[in-house]
């Protein structure tokens, strides 16, 4: 609980994808060590977040049962665990993946704690937009660990998660608005209202869906990925339009203990929130599956364009 296992699982999964799609064979021992370092780094960042945010976690129904606010773990223990696991994970990454990967992992942890948790979260509604970079970096860390460098491809994966984060969290905050207001966290629905949040969700979704197609342009994703991304992207947009046209977040929405419990009117936001998790999972699963199942059929766009020009 202290290391946010739900967040960790997404980080590990995108990290695994980053490793698998990166060029080269890659040693299994180094893969295990690098991915363990990423997982532990994410867990440590989660523990440090819980140490610092115990006061606001205690005020929100969804988070008040977390280990620190509920008293099962002391704040000092969370801090000690977070610092030590952070240091060890960066050290292991330096050994297994080299300096660039270790530096990126250290940057990710520090960005999450210093920039997101300590600086932005309590000050600006842009908190999750900018802070989302920390959650977006794992594929690039894994890529750097395997290859020793970075190219445009891992950065596209980072960009996809980065742009995915705001509509994902804002959909949640639309139907948990009451909790954020109580805790004084300036989430967008609290500071700018539900209508503006629904608009922003739509804008970000309209940016996300085409962006999620770009791996098929660079050859990182093949035909399977293109199909999955296009089909699920259309559904994502549909749900985002439904949120935009809904009244989700209007009125006093009381925060819920259950992540998916929803008050009347907030169903569209809940649906988008739940779907967004599956969407990101399927995008990365498609990339992994193409490589593992040997169905990485890259579309030759140049030949297609040349063929189109001759017609």
């Amino acid at each position: 609980m202290l290391m946010k296992p739900r967040v960790m699982s997404l980080v590990i999964f995108t990290g695994v994808a980053g490793w698998i799609v990166a060029p080269g064979a890659g040693d299994p021992v180094l893969a295990f060590a690098a991915l363990l370092a990423i997982a532990c780094g994410a867990g440590a960042a989660g523990a440090l977040n819980m140490w610092f945010d115990a006061d606001i976690d205690a005020q929100m129904r969804r988070t008040k049962n977390r280990p620190v606010p509920s008293g099962r773990v002391s704040a000092e223990e969370a801090l000690t665990l977070g610092v030590w696991v952070s240091v060890l994970s960066v050290a292991v990454m330096a050994l297994a993946g080299g300096a660039l990967a270790a530096g990126l992992l250290a940057f990710t942890i520090l960005f999450y704690i210093l920039v997101y948790t300590m600086w932005l979260k309590r000050r600006t509604p842009h908190n999750i937009v900018i802070g989302g970079l920390a959650g977006a970096l794992p594929p690039a860390v894994a890529w750097a660990a395997k290859t020793g460098g970075l190219t445009i491809d891992p950065l596209i994966l980072v960009a996809i998660i980065f742009i995915w984060t705001p509509p994902h969290f804002w959909a949640l905050s639309l139907y948990q608005k009451g909790d954020y207001a109580t805790a004084g966290v300036p989430m967008l629905p609290v500071t700018h209202g539900a209508a503006e949040t629904r608009r922003q969700i739509l804008w970000y979704s309209m940016a996300l869906v085409p962006l999620a197609l770009t791996p098929a342009l660079t050859g990182l994703g093949g035909l399977v990925y293109l199909g999955v991304s296009a089909a699920l992207g259309a559904l994502f947009l549909l749900l985002a339009f439904k949120v935009a046209g809904s009244r989700a977040g209007d009125g006093d929405v009381v925060g819920q203990v259950d992540l998916y419990a929803v008050a009347a009117g907030g169903k569209a936001a809940r649906n988008l929130f739940a779907f967004s998790i599956g969407y990101l999972f399927c995008l990365f699963a498609a990339l992994i599956m193409e490589r593992l199942a040997g169905v990485h059929w890259v579309v030759d766009w140049q030949a297609l364009l040349a063929f189109g020009a001759t017609q």
Binding site: A33, L36, V92, L95
Partner: protein, 58 residues
């Protein structure tokens, strides 16, 4: 200020059976974690050295 040597038995708060068991469990977990870390670093080192060692001219 002296630390350690001057602690009298009556100053020590005895642990309850539950606390002692929790401490023992925590210590075992820490020992396993450290052992795991040692094994991991050993394996990483072996893997990293493998190519270099065997390609080295004799």
């Amino acid at each position: 200020m002296s630390v350690g040597r001057d602690i009298r038995p009556e100053d020590v708060i005895p642990l309850t059976a539950e606390q002692a068991a929790a401490r023992r469990k925590r210590n075992i977990m820490l020992a396993l974690l450290l052992a795991g870390l040692m094994v991991l670093i050993f394996l990483i080192s072996l893997t990293q050295m493998k190519a270099g060692l065997f390609q080295r001219p004799l």
